[in-house]
């Protein structure tokens, strides 16, 4: 089998697992933050934090054992704008609260029979491509030129900073990898009370482990001498756009890892939803809801393009590389969500 075929099937498999687990545990950052900050029920948000921590520690361990080179990923590109990346995060965070779920959550909800998510996904995919390669792309490139920073480290990440400070590779990866990972896990299990919800603990750890699995698939099995594939892991903004494009142009373009993951998530979540009899068709109650789905999806698409990733893409995959840009993007996403829950521009029923 060609290595590209192996990668597509592996991506589909990772998507299947993600979809099934996320459907069963209702894995969702926006819902979690709404319950945490609005209703003082932090468990679902804690499961997301645990997934983040697991992804960081496991990815750094895998990179240390040479399973892949994280420096080849887009999160560690040498130049990024210090304000466009967090601004994209804020737009994404606000958009995911407006749309009641981020891109990956919308895929799972669609498989549950929630037809509102279809509109969110279409708006997200189209607006992401408008910002990446379409009518908004010149504006994106123009503003990204302002405030561009090039960190003169080995890679623009926490481990890169330590390597540049003269640390050896093992401690430079393990120290921040364990500190961030264990720190997030401790917060989730301790003060946020996740330890009382074993199903959420298991789900969070499993989803966190799918991130290094994605890195190893594209970065190890994809590292063909003659035809290397881009090093990537779980992410949902560009891949949802790619999936829409693939539906329309499949005779002229080749299938990519991200599109295979999106297909896997839909299939996995649909299977889980049918088995657990959660499947139920739902639609919009009123035009106002529809407007929120449209604007939320659009904000997520544009914001995700500016921030180079979504709650999963930057929050799990990006953070797992310890990239400075990912930390900025996540701060932006949390700030955008906070604006939607509290603050002067809060959404009416976000709390």
């Amino acid at each position: 089998m060609e290595h590209t075929t192996v990668i597509l099937w592996a991506g589909f498999g990772i998507g299947l697992l993600y979809g099934a687990i996320a459907q069963r545990m209702e894995f969702c950052l926006s819902g979690g933050l709404r319950e945490w900050w609005g209703e003082a029920r932090p468990r679902r948000a804690a499961a997301f934090l645990l997934a983040m921590g697991t992804a960081v520690t496991a990815t750094q361990a895998a990179a240390l054992f040479g399973a892949f080179t994280s420096g080849d990923s887009i999160y560690l590109q040498p130049t990024f704008s210090w304000w466009v990346v967090p601004l994209g995060g804020v737009l994404f965070g606000y958009g995911m609260m407006a749309a009641r779920g981020c891109g990956s959550r919308a895929l799972v909800l669609l498989a549950d029979g929630n037809l509102r998510s279809l509109l969110v996904l279409l708006c997200l995919g189209v607006s992401a491509f408008a910002a990446l390669t379409g009518i908004l792309a010149p504006a994106r490139l123009w503003i990204s030129g302002f405030g561009a920073v090039s960190l003169q480290w080995v890679t623009p990440s926490l481990d890169g900073a330590l390597l540049s400070a003269g640390w050896a590779e093992a401690p430079a990866r393990l120290f921040p990898g364990l500190a961030v990972g264990l720190g997030l896990a401790a917060i989730a299990l301790g003060p946020l009370g996740l330890r009382k919800a074993p199903k959420q603990v298991a789900g969070g750890v499993l989803i966190g482990l799918l991130v290094p699995a994605g890195w190893i698939v594209t970065g190890h099995f994809g590292a063909d001498d003659f035809d290397p594939v881009p090093v990537e892991s779980l992410t949902f903004v560009a891949p949802i756009g790619d999936s829409i494009q693939y539906l329309m142009l499949s005779t002229g373009i080749s299938l990519q890892f991200g599109v295979a993951v999106v297909g896997g998530v839909l299939a996995g979540a649909l299977a889980a939803s049918l088995v657990s009899r959660d499947f139920e068709l739902r639609g919009f109650d009123n035009p106002h809801d529809m407007l929120r789905a449209i604007s939320g999806g659009t904000l997520m698409g544009i914001g995700g393009a500016l921030a180079m990733g979504c709650s999963v893409g930057q929050g799990l995959s990006g953070l797992s590389t310890l990239a400075v840009a990912s930390v900025l993007a996540i701060a932006g996403i949390f700030a955008g969500a906070a604006l939607a829950i509290r603050g002067p521009v809060r959404l009416r029923d976000a709390t």
């Binding site: 040498p78 990446l132 003659f226």
Partner: protein
């Protein structure tokens, strides 16, 4: 009473062609001419016209495999397939690739021998805007074949690092498939680490990076050249070439040589399995 429109649409008595038929015919002629013009892109490439020297190529005879849309114009995968040949005279001996929308239209030229079994060629090319890619090929009997494919190039979704890894330049690698199936060609993949500097790129301080490219590639078997290629600056960094070898006639060791425009060269060997 007849309606005026029905009157006009009914057939005229004189036996002259129906006016509608004339309109349809005109449309068909326009469509045909438009299609022919779209396929005859080489007519607008001076280098291709000079090459053809009045010969009329068989349009659509070459099959070009390129993505319809690409976000990465710096590395666009291209495969050229030749029509099935009925005898050695119909095999392709020369192939020319053009990208008329680039600063210079020439991309690459190949001279092929029957040892390659008329098998497809793949490489990766640079396209700096949306444009048709044109291929012209000459068979051993002197016939010209042509193929065109439109590619849309969008700006890059992610800004990829432009690392100058000159340190690793000139490292070649090659691999031949080791499984031989009856009646099938063996594929040989070759690649050399090289920046393929176009001489058009500017550094951050505004100075121009001088041109530095791999200019030619040659595959020899028992001292005899079975494939030679001339690369221009529109061949992507780390020039990649996949070609096929007929294991019945050309199995054994291939010596591969890449030569830079500076005159420096690198070589590698690859073992092609033989078939009875």
């Amino acid at each position: 009473m007849t309606h005026p429109y029905t009157t006009r649409l009914s057939a005229p008595p004189s036996g002259a062609p129906h006016p509608l038929r004339r309109v349809i015919g005109l449309f068909a002629a326009i469509l045909f001419l438009a299609a022919a013009a779209a396929d005859a892109r080489w007519e607008r490439i001076p280098e291709a016209v000079a090459l053809l020297d009045g010969a009329e190529p068989r349009a659509g005879a070459l099959e070009l495999d390129l993505p319809t849309v690409t976000q990465n114009g710096s590395s666009v995968p291209l495969t050229v397939r030749f029509p099935e040949s009925r005898g050695e005279n119909e095999t392709v001996e020369a192939l020319y690739i053009f990208a008329p929308g680039n600063p210079s239209p020439e991309v690459a030229e190949f001279s092929l021998t029957p040892a390659l079994g008329n098998g497809e060629l793949s490489t990766r090319i640079r396209l700096n805007q949306s444009q048709p890619v044109v291929a012209l090929a000459r068979t051993r009997s002197g016939d010209w074949l042509a193929g065109t494919r439109e590619v849309r190039v969008t700006v890059s979704g992610c800004i990829t690092a432009n690392q100058d890894n000159d340190a690793n330049a000139m490292q070649p690698r090659a691999r031949a498939s080791q499984r031989v199936r009856t009646g099938q060609l063996v594929d040989v993949r070759t690649l050399i680490r090289h920046p393929m500097e176009t001489g058009l790129r500017e550094r951050d301080d505004g100075t121009v990076v001088p041109e530095r490219i791999i200019q030619s590639f040659e595959a020899r078997r028992n001292g005899e050249t079975i494939l030679s290629a001339r690369f221009h600056r529109a061949v992507s960094a780390n020039p990649y070439l996949l070609f096929h070898v007929d294991p019945r006639t050309a199995g054994g060791t291939l010596e591969l040589t890449w030569t830079e425009d500076t005159g420096e060269s690198a070589s590698a060997t690859v073992e092609v399995p033989s078939a009875p």
